[in-house]
Amino acid sequence: MTAVHRFRAMGCEVVLSRGDPVAVAAVFARWEGVFSRFLRDSELTRVNASPAWALHVSPLFARALRIALEAAADTGGLVDPTLGAALEAAGYDTDFSRLAGDGAPVGPAVPSRLGEVRLDGRILRRPPGLLLDLNGVVKSLAVDEAADALSSGGFVSAGGDLAARGPVDVGLPGGDAVRVVRGGLATSGVVSRRWRRGGREQHHLIDPRTGRPYRDPPWEQVTVSGASCLAADVAAKASFLLGEDGPAWLDEHGMPGRFVARGGDVVLNGAWHRDVAPEGVCT
Protein backbone atom coordinates (compact mmCIF):
# COMPACT_ATOMS: atom_id res chain seq x y z
CA MET A 1 0.00 0.00 0.00
CA THR A 2 1.56 3.26 -1.13
CA ALA A 3 1.60 6.04 1.45
CA VAL A 4 -0.75 8.95 0.80
CA HIS A 5 0.19 12.37 2.18
CA ARG A 6 -2.28 15.14 2.92
CA PHE A 7 -1.86 18.80 3.72
CA ARG A 8 -3.68 22.06 3.10
CA ALA A 9 -2.68 24.68 0.54
CA MET A 10 -4.49 27.22 -1.63
CA GLY A 11 -7.55 26.88 0.56
CA CYS A 12 -8.06 23.18 -0.14
CA GLU A 13 -6.74 19.76 0.78
CA VAL A 14 -3.77 18.52 -1.21
CA VAL A 15 -3.35 14.74 -1.51
CA LEU A 16 -0.34 13.07 -3.08
CA SER A 17 1.19 9.69 -3.53
CA ARG A 18 4.67 8.58 -4.64
CA GLY A 19 6.21 11.96 -4.16
CA ASP A 20 8.08 14.14 -1.67
CA PRO A 21 5.40 16.02 0.32
CA VAL A 22 7.87 18.73 1.30
CA ALA A 23 8.78 19.42 -2.33
CA VAL A 24 5.12 19.38 -3.38
CA ALA A 25 4.18 21.71 -0.53
CA ALA A 26 6.93 24.08 -1.67
CA VAL A 27 5.46 24.12 -5.19
CA PHE A 28 2.02 25.06 -3.88
CA ALA A 29 3.45 27.65 -1.49
CA ARG A 30 5.32 29.31 -4.36
CA TRP A 31 2.23 29.53 -6.58
CA GLU A 32 0.05 30.73 -3.71
CA GLY A 33 2.63 33.33 -2.71
CA VAL A 34 2.52 34.86 -6.18
CA PHE A 35 -1.15 34.51 -7.14
CA SER A 36 -3.24 34.71 -3.96
CA ARG A 37 -5.82 37.50 -4.04
CA PHE A 38 -5.83 37.54 -0.26
CA LEU A 39 -2.13 37.82 0.61
CA ARG A 40 -1.19 41.48 0.88
CA ASP A 41 2.33 40.93 -0.45
CA SER A 42 1.49 38.55 -3.30
CA GLU A 43 2.50 39.71 -6.76
CA LEU A 44 -1.12 39.53 -7.93
CA THR A 45 -2.22 41.82 -5.09
CA ARG A 46 0.52 44.30 -5.94
CA VAL A 47 -0.28 44.18 -9.66
CA ASN A 48 -3.99 44.74 -9.00
CA ALA A 49 -3.23 47.66 -6.68
CA SER A 50 -0.69 49.33 -8.94
CA PRO A 51 -1.69 52.67 -10.50
CA ALA A 52 0.71 52.12 -13.39
CA TRP A 53 -0.58 51.32 -16.87
CA ALA A 54 2.44 49.11 -17.69
CA LEU A 55 4.13 46.72 -15.29
CA HIS A 56 7.17 44.45 -15.40
CA VAL A 57 6.02 41.14 -13.95
CA SER A 58 7.91 38.05 -12.82
CA PRO A 59 8.51 35.15 -15.21
CA LEU A 60 6.05 32.96 -13.28
CA PHE A 61 3.38 35.66 -13.38
CA ALA A 62 3.89 36.25 -17.09
CA ARG A 63 3.73 32.53 -17.81
CA ALA A 64 0.50 32.01 -15.87
CA LEU A 65 -1.14 35.11 -17.34
CA ARG A 66 -0.16 34.06 -20.85
CA ILE A 67 -1.71 30.64 -20.25
CA ALA A 68 -4.82 32.27 -18.80
CA LEU A 69 -5.18 34.50 -21.86
CA GLU A 70 -4.74 31.46 -24.13
CA ALA A 71 -7.36 29.60 -22.10
CA ALA A 72 -9.69 32.56 -22.57
CA ALA A 73 -9.12 32.40 -26.32
CA ASP A 74 -9.63 28.63 -26.39
CA THR A 75 -12.92 28.86 -24.54
CA GLY A 76 -14.36 31.82 -26.38
CA GLY A 77 -13.78 34.02 -23.33
CA LEU A 78 -15.61 31.78 -20.86
CA VAL A 79 -12.53 31.22 -18.67
CA ASP A 80 -11.60 34.84 -18.15
CA PRO A 81 -8.73 36.22 -16.01
CA THR A 82 -10.20 39.75 -15.85
CA LEU A 83 -13.14 38.94 -13.58
CA GLY A 84 -11.49 39.75 -10.25
CA ALA A 85 -13.76 42.77 -9.75
CA ALA A 86 -16.83 40.67 -10.56
CA LEU A 87 -15.81 38.16 -7.90
CA GLU A 88 -15.39 40.94 -5.37
CA ALA A 89 -18.73 42.45 -6.38
CA ALA A 90 -20.32 39.07 -5.71
CA GLY A 91 -18.82 39.16 -2.22
CA TYR A 92 -15.80 36.89 -2.67
CA ASP A 93 -13.43 39.54 -1.33
CA THR A 94 -11.68 37.58 1.39
CA ASP A 95 -10.49 34.08 2.09
CA PHE A 96 -13.35 31.64 1.50
CA SER A 97 -13.18 30.37 5.08
CA ARG A 98 -14.26 33.87 6.25
CA LEU A 99 -17.32 34.12 3.99
CA ALA A 100 -19.69 32.84 6.64
CA GLY A 101 -23.24 34.09 6.94
CA ASP A 102 -25.09 36.60 4.81
CA GLY A 103 -23.48 39.87 3.82
CA ALA A 104 -24.19 43.14 2.13
CA PRO A 105 -26.01 43.03 -1.22
CA VAL A 106 -23.79 42.33 -4.18
CA GLY A 107 -22.32 45.19 -6.16
CA PRO A 108 -23.09 45.98 -9.79
CA ALA A 109 -22.22 43.47 -12.48
CA VAL A 110 -18.67 43.77 -13.78
CA PRO A 111 -18.32 42.60 -17.37
CA SER A 112 -15.22 41.08 -18.91
CA ARG A 113 -12.31 43.40 -19.72
CA LEU A 114 -10.35 40.80 -21.62
CA GLY A 115 -9.69 43.11 -24.55
CA GLU A 116 -7.91 45.61 -22.30
CA VAL A 117 -5.09 43.29 -21.24
CA ARG A 118 -1.85 43.09 -23.25
CA LEU A 119 1.16 40.98 -22.37
CA ASP A 120 4.39 41.50 -24.31
CA GLY A 121 7.06 39.24 -22.85
CA ARG A 122 7.06 40.29 -19.21
CA ILE A 123 5.49 43.68 -19.80
CA LEU A 124 1.86 43.74 -18.73
CA ARG A 125 -0.32 46.58 -19.97
CA ARG A 126 -3.79 47.07 -18.55
CA PRO A 127 -5.81 49.99 -17.18
CA PRO A 128 -5.33 50.62 -13.45
CA GLY A 129 -8.27 49.25 -11.52
CA LEU A 130 -8.67 46.18 -13.70
CA LEU A 131 -8.52 43.31 -11.21
CA LEU A 132 -6.96 40.12 -12.48
CA ASP A 133 -7.92 36.76 -11.00
CA LEU A 134 -5.87 33.85 -12.27
CA ASN A 135 -7.49 31.23 -10.10
CA GLY A 136 -8.96 29.68 -13.23
CA VAL A 137 -5.57 28.29 -14.16
CA VAL A 138 -3.21 28.69 -11.20
CA LYS A 139 -4.26 25.72 -9.08
CA SER A 140 -4.19 23.32 -11.98
CA LEU A 141 -0.81 24.68 -13.10
CA ALA A 142 0.54 24.04 -9.60
CA VAL A 143 -0.88 20.51 -9.71
CA ASP A 144 0.73 19.85 -13.09
CA GLU A 145 4.08 21.16 -11.89
CA ALA A 146 3.90 19.11 -8.70
CA ALA A 147 2.97 15.99 -10.66
CA ASP A 148 6.09 16.35 -12.81
CA ALA A 149 8.22 15.46 -9.79
CA LEU A 150 6.28 12.34 -8.80
CA SER A 151 7.40 8.78 -9.34
CA SER A 152 5.60 6.52 -11.78
CA GLY A 153 2.10 5.69 -10.60
CA GLY A 154 1.90 8.73 -8.35
CA PHE A 155 -0.75 11.41 -8.28
CA VAL A 156 -1.35 14.80 -6.76
CA SER A 157 -4.75 16.32 -6.14
CA ALA A 158 -5.75 19.77 -4.92
CA GLY A 159 -9.44 20.20 -4.36
CA GLY A 160 -11.10 19.16 -7.56
CA ASP A 161 -7.92 19.11 -9.63
CA LEU A 162 -5.82 15.98 -10.10
CA ALA A 163 -2.83 14.97 -12.20
CA ALA A 164 -1.49 11.43 -12.39
CA ARG A 165 1.84 9.92 -13.41
CA GLY A 166 0.25 6.62 -14.28
CA PRO A 167 -3.02 4.79 -13.75
CA VAL A 168 -4.87 5.84 -10.61
CA ASP A 169 -8.47 5.22 -9.61
CA VAL A 170 -10.35 8.34 -8.59
CA GLY A 171 -13.67 8.69 -6.80
CA LEU A 172 -16.24 10.88 -8.54
CA PRO A 173 -19.06 13.08 -7.27
CA GLY A 174 -22.07 10.88 -6.65
CA GLY A 175 -20.14 7.76 -5.71
CA ASP A 176 -18.80 6.45 -9.01
CA ALA A 177 -15.12 6.05 -9.81
CA VAL A 178 -12.92 6.22 -12.86
CA ARG A 179 -9.38 5.18 -13.69
CA VAL A 180 -7.21 8.05 -14.88
CA VAL A 181 -4.80 6.35 -17.24
CA ARG A 182 -2.99 9.47 -18.39
CA GLY A 183 -3.31 13.22 -17.85
CA GLY A 184 -5.51 15.01 -15.37
CA LEU A 185 -9.01 15.15 -14.02
CA ALA A 186 -10.82 18.25 -12.76
CA THR A 187 -14.25 18.96 -11.32
CA SER A 188 -15.92 22.36 -11.33
CA GLY A 189 -19.25 23.27 -9.88
CA VAL A 190 -21.23 25.19 -7.34
CA VAL A 191 -21.49 22.60 -4.60
CA SER A 192 -18.76 23.77 -2.26
CA ARG A 193 -17.75 27.39 -2.94
CA ARG A 194 -21.05 29.08 -2.20
CA TRP A 195 -21.97 31.97 0.07
CA ARG A 196 -24.85 34.41 0.55
CA ARG A 197 -24.97 38.13 -0.12
CA GLY A 198 -28.10 40.25 0.09
CA GLY A 199 -30.17 37.13 0.72
CA ARG A 200 -29.10 35.53 -2.56
CA GLU A 201 -26.81 32.60 -3.03
CA GLN A 202 -23.52 33.40 -4.78
CA HIS A 203 -20.74 31.21 -6.16
CA HIS A 204 -17.32 31.62 -7.71
CA LEU A 205 -18.08 30.65 -11.32
CA ILE A 206 -18.59 34.06 -12.89
CA ASP A 207 -20.32 34.18 -16.25
CA PRO A 208 -18.31 36.70 -18.30
CA ARG A 209 -21.38 37.34 -20.44
CA THR A 210 -23.22 38.85 -17.47
CA GLY A 211 -20.44 39.74 -15.05
CA ARG A 212 -22.24 37.87 -12.27
CA PRO A 213 -22.19 34.31 -10.88
CA TYR A 214 -23.77 31.98 -13.44
CA ARG A 215 -27.50 31.92 -12.64
CA ASP A 216 -29.52 28.70 -12.59
CA PRO A 217 -26.92 26.34 -14.03
CA PRO A 218 -28.33 22.99 -15.13
CA TRP A 219 -25.34 21.25 -13.56
CA GLU A 220 -24.11 20.99 -10.01
CA GLN A 221 -20.74 19.56 -10.96
CA VAL A 222 -18.80 18.86 -14.14
CA THR A 223 -15.83 16.49 -14.24
CA VAL A 224 -13.51 16.50 -17.26
CA SER A 225 -10.54 14.36 -18.26
CA GLY A 226 -7.74 16.30 -19.95
CA ALA A 227 -4.24 15.68 -21.25
CA SER A 228 -3.12 17.79 -18.30
CA CYS A 229 -4.79 19.03 -15.15
CA LEU A 230 -4.82 22.50 -16.71
CA ALA A 231 -6.67 21.28 -19.80
CA ALA A 232 -9.17 19.40 -17.65
CA ASP A 233 -9.75 22.37 -15.34
CA VAL A 234 -10.23 24.92 -18.11
CA ALA A 235 -12.57 22.60 -19.99
CA ALA A 236 -14.56 21.79 -16.83
CA LYS A 237 -15.17 25.48 -16.08
CA ALA A 238 -16.05 26.30 -19.68
CA SER A 239 -18.41 23.36 -20.12
CA PHE A 240 -20.10 24.21 -16.82
CA LEU A 241 -20.70 27.77 -18.02
CA LEU A 242 -22.01 26.52 -21.35
CA GLY A 243 -24.93 24.89 -19.57
CA GLU A 244 -26.84 22.41 -21.71
CA ASP A 245 -24.32 22.84 -24.52
CA GLY A 246 -21.43 21.70 -22.31
CA PRO A 247 -21.42 17.97 -23.21
CA ALA A 248 -21.45 18.63 -26.95
CA TRP A 249 -18.73 21.28 -26.64
CA LEU A 250 -16.49 18.80 -24.87
CA ASP A 251 -17.15 16.21 -27.56
CA GLU A 252 -16.07 18.71 -30.19
CA HIS A 253 -12.69 18.77 -28.44
CA GLY A 254 -12.61 15.01 -27.86
CA MET A 255 -12.62 15.51 -24.08
CA PRO A 256 -14.47 13.09 -21.80
CA GLY A 257 -16.94 14.88 -19.52
CA ARG A 258 -19.29 13.79 -16.75
CA PHE A 259 -22.10 16.12 -15.74
CA VAL A 260 -24.05 15.84 -12.49
CA ALA A 261 -27.39 17.60 -12.91
CA ARG A 262 -29.19 19.47 -10.12
CA GLY A 263 -31.47 16.54 -9.47
CA GLY A 264 -28.56 14.15 -9.17
CA ASP A 265 -28.83 12.62 -12.63
CA VAL A 266 -25.52 11.88 -14.28
CA VAL A 267 -24.97 12.76 -17.94
CA LEU A 268 -21.92 11.49 -19.79
CA ASN A 269 -20.78 13.00 -23.05
CA GLY A 270 -19.84 10.77 -25.96
CA ALA A 271 -16.10 10.74 -25.21
CA TRP A 272 -16.61 9.69 -21.60
CA HIS A 273 -19.20 7.13 -22.55
CA ARG A 274 -16.84 5.65 -25.11
CA ASP A 275 -14.10 5.16 -22.53
CA VAL A 276 -16.09 4.23 -19.42
CA ALA A 277 -19.79 3.72 -19.49
CA PRO A 278 -21.34 2.35 -16.33
CA GLU A 279 -24.62 0.64 -16.94
CA GLY A 280 -27.82 2.59 -16.56
CA VAL A 281 -26.35 6.02 -17.17
CA CYS A 282 -27.84 8.10 -19.94
CA THR A 283 -25.75 10.00 -22.45
Binding site: V168, S188, G189, S225, A227, A232, M255, P256
Partner: protein, 97 residues
Protein backbone atom coordinates in the same frame (compact mmCIF):
# COMPACT_ATOMS: atom_id res chain seq x y z
CA UNK B 1 73.66 83.32 -50.74
CA UNK B 2 72.49 80.38 -52.73
CA UNK B 3 74.96 78.17 -50.92
CA UNK B 4 73.66 79.36 -47.56
CA UNK B 5 70.09 78.72 -48.61
CA UNK B 6 71.11 75.29 -49.82
CA UNK B 7 72.88 74.66 -46.58
CA UNK B 8 69.68 75.59 -44.64
CA UNK B 9 67.50 73.26 -46.75
CA UNK B 10 70.00 70.41 -46.81
CA UNK B 11 70.56 69.03 -43.33
CA UNK B 12 73.62 67.12 -42.53
CA UNK B 13 73.90 63.41 -42.20
CA UNK B 14 72.93 63.55 -38.51
CA UNK B 15 69.89 65.74 -39.12
CA UNK B 16 68.67 63.54 -41.99
CA UNK B 17 68.86 60.56 -39.77
CA UNK B 18 66.64 62.19 -37.15
CA UNK B 19 64.12 63.16 -39.80
CA UNK B 20 64.08 59.64 -41.11
CA UNK B 21 63.57 58.38 -37.59
CA UNK B 22 60.68 60.82 -37.10
CA UNK B 23 59.14 59.72 -40.39
CA UNK B 24 59.53 56.11 -39.35
CA UNK B 25 57.83 56.82 -36.04
CA UNK B 26 55.05 58.64 -37.87
CA UNK B 27 54.60 55.71 -40.26
CA UNK B 28 54.51 53.35 -37.29
CA UNK B 29 51.96 55.50 -35.53
CA UNK B 30 49.80 55.65 -38.66
CA UNK B 31 49.94 51.88 -39.00
CA UNK B 32 49.09 51.42 -35.32
CA UNK B 33 46.18 53.87 -35.47
CA UNK B 34 44.92 52.24 -38.65
CA UNK B 35 45.16 48.75 -37.18
CA UNK B 36 43.45 49.88 -33.99
CA UNK B 37 40.66 51.56 -35.94
CA UNK B 38 40.20 48.44 -38.06
CA UNK B 39 40.09 46.29 -34.95
CA UNK B 40 37.56 48.54 -33.21
CA UNK B 41 35.42 48.68 -36.33
CA UNK B 42 35.56 44.90 -36.73
CA UNK B 43 34.57 44.24 -33.12
CA UNK B 44 31.76 46.80 -33.29
CA UNK B 45 30.60 45.40 -36.62
CA UNK B 46 30.49 41.83 -35.37
CA UNK B 47 28.85 42.87 -32.13
CA UNK B 48 26.19 44.85 -33.92
CA UNK B 49 25.59 42.01 -36.33
CA UNK B 50 25.23 39.53 -33.50
CA UNK B 51 23.09 41.61 -31.14
CA UNK B 52 21.24 44.03 -33.36
CA UNK B 53 20.83 42.43 -36.76
CA UNK B 54 19.73 44.84 -39.41
CA UNK B 55 17.95 44.17 -42.60
CA UNK B 56 17.82 40.54 -43.62
CA UNK B 57 19.58 39.74 -46.87
CA UNK B 58 17.16 36.99 -47.70
CA UNK B 59 13.52 37.39 -48.69
CA UNK B 60 11.43 38.80 -45.84
CA UNK B 61 9.25 36.28 -44.03
CA UNK B 62 5.95 37.13 -42.30
CA UNK B 63 6.33 37.66 -38.54
CA UNK B 64 3.38 35.44 -37.69
CA UNK B 65 4.04 31.78 -36.92
CA UNK B 66 2.95 29.29 -39.57
CA UNK B 67 -0.74 28.46 -39.38
CA UNK B 68 0.04 24.79 -38.76
CA UNK B 69 2.16 25.69 -35.74
CA UNK B 70 -0.47 28.03 -34.33
CA UNK B 71 -3.10 25.37 -34.81
CA UNK B 72 -0.97 22.76 -33.04
CA UNK B 73 -0.30 25.08 -30.10
CA UNK B 74 -3.93 26.12 -29.86
CA UNK B 75 -5.21 22.58 -30.00
CA UNK B 76 -2.81 21.47 -27.29
CA UNK B 77 -4.62 23.54 -24.68
CA UNK B 78 -7.82 21.53 -24.82
CA UNK B 79 -6.88 17.90 -25.32
CA UNK B 80 -8.63 15.02 -23.65
CA UNK B 81 -6.91 12.65 -21.26
CA UNK B 82 -7.26 8.90 -21.12
CA UNK B 83 -9.65 7.27 -18.70
CA UNK B 84 -10.89 3.73 -18.17
CA UNK B 85 -13.18 1.81 -15.84
CA UNK B 86 -11.78 1.61 -12.28
CA UNK B 87 -10.16 -1.60 -11.10
CA UNK B 88 -9.79 -0.98 -7.36
CA UNK B 89 -11.15 1.26 -4.61
CA UNK B 90 -10.00 4.83 -5.30
CA UNK B 91 -7.39 6.29 -2.94
CA UNK B 92 -8.45 9.82 -3.87
CA UNK B 93 -11.66 11.65 -4.73
CA UNK B 94 -12.11 14.57 -7.08
CA UNK B 95 -14.21 17.23 -5.42
CA UNK B 96 -15.58 20.48 -6.68
CA UNK B 97 -13.07 23.29 -7.02
Amino acid sequence: MAAVAHAERSPGPGQRSRIEQARARARGAKVAVGALATLVFGVAFMGAKAHAPGHAKHKAQPLAAPASFEQAVRQSALVGGRIAPPVQPPPVVTSTS
